[in-house]
Symmetry: C2
Subunit: 325 residues, 2 copies
Amino acid sequence: MTEQLIGWVAVDAGGTSTRTVVVDPTGRCLGYAVAGSGNPIAVGPEAAAASVAQSVRHALGEAEVPSARIRQVVLAMAGAGSTSVAPEIRHRLAGIGLDAPLVFESDLLATYFSGTHLPDGYAVVAGTGAGAIRVEDGRQVAVADGLGWLLGDEGSGFWIGQRVVRAALADLDGRGPSTALTPLMLARLGVPAPSDDGDRKPILAVVRALYASPPVRLADYAGLVFEVAGDRTADDILDEAAATLARTLTAVRSPTVSGPMVLGGGILGRGRQLADRLATAADAGEVHTVADGAVGVCVLTLRHAGTYVDTAVFQRLTTSLATLR
Amino acid sequence: MTEQLIGWVAVDAGGTSTRTVVVDPTGRCLGYAVAGSGNPIAVGPEAAAASVAQSVRHALGEAEVPSARIRQVVLAMAGAGSTSVAPEIRHRLAGIGLDAPLVFESDLLATYFSGTHLPDGYAVVAGTGAGAIRVEDGRQVAVADGLGWLLGDEGSGFWIGQRVVRAALADLDGRGPSTALTPLMLARLGVPAPSDDGDRKPILAVVRALYASPPVRLADYAGLVFEVAGDRTADDILDEAAATLARTLTAVRSPTVSGPMVLGGGILGRGRQLADRLATAADAGEVHTVADGAVGVCVLTLRHAGTYVDTAVFQRLTTSLATLR
């Protein structure tokens, strides 16, 4: 640690986890830490703010940069949550001695800049939620979906997870086809398989267990769809998810902007099954798949710091962050 | 009011409203009253129990039968809620001087017996929730769905209402086709139409308003689907609802039981559009459509009272209840 060292804090607050990077103005990542869900809609403003503060504290500790030398905190978060959670986050950051200005950025834009530093293109995100944006001149100029688990987020982790659970229950209930998803769901919940055709105890046990958690937690069952290769029901769910994400992308497309296209979020970032389907459905050219928005929120942070992010700086960001992860 | 008069209280507690009938052992309905939602999953156990007590109090008042002369209270309610809400209901009924034994019956069976007194057949219910049963020898011997808004209730008011709202939002968002449902939804919520193509204020206003209510209240938007005759999106939703209800019925069908088939609940009871589709999809013979389970819970109550319900008693029930409604 030198006396001249100053840093910026970049936070990527997602539905499943929150990632914080401490970065210097040249694009060198100095510290990195992960905490729990930072999405106030998923876990409430208190828990979301606590995740942000925890990951910031650990990242600052790793970077060995004192809080007083942090110039700004840039936080990428799903749009709907930002205003309600801002006071709580400021309060929590002050609690760890961090009084630097707090700026919110779009989580979708952070995902975009995790895949490219080019100023024009598209991002499609499917994590717990889902949405798409068009980026022109480095700004998010159009957005589609991102309307949350009850009203939108089509093709998201929640959307897939709910279909997985409904398909398994329909199988148990005799309303739907037999699927390999059913034993996986029962095992995950620790519910014994039915003893005979008329045994409804497993159905009632599953229903009781799932209604006891917040609805959005059905996203936890999305991963099962990737574990049953060749299962017809699972394939149908993935095909429909890709088609609906392609529709969301179409809603933001413009004939004057061709690409690149960045695919991100815990669902699109997981394996190739969904990303490949989407790239095919969308007839995409240059495609980058990213796990999260950590690199991108650093790009947005450097912009606030007055650093122009060219190929070299972008390279430094991704390389130095990779060594910390 | 004669000194010999005794009565039974029959309660049909639904997701939208609660109906109470005071009935004598010959099948003559003496009093009838309606209150709000009696479904503990939809409105919580306190509010559900309050609706039950309110409708019972008013029905007793109309019947002019003192509480002390009520032999039993029979309450038809969606299965999942009954055990959790029983103490609260007993407490509320005691508060209006009613200490008669309380018995729970299936709301689906009450719907069945609202359409027929025959001991073998089927019922399909689509109100706020949805499910199907097979009845043999007067007992509910098989059930499908009825798993609640998050995990099942396919083809229900919630299921349709959520599709209505999602379709309207997709229309506004450029992700889905234009539909006549959109202006109806905006008008219902008092949200102005978008000023131009890029105006996302209506979307955000709708999202804010709908997340402020319990999710199950999306069922309130199901009715819009009946108000836009010829709209492609609305027709698709109704076709899919009928197909999914037909699948639910298929899950309880037995080759040894042919009918009749009773269709009930606020959604299937509303107009002919959905009921006709379902009757066609299910290739049904004798079909009765009923508005609710009020007559049926009286049939179940008479059974508890030791009265055999034949054609004449069933006729007396339906005729005398009709004069009170």
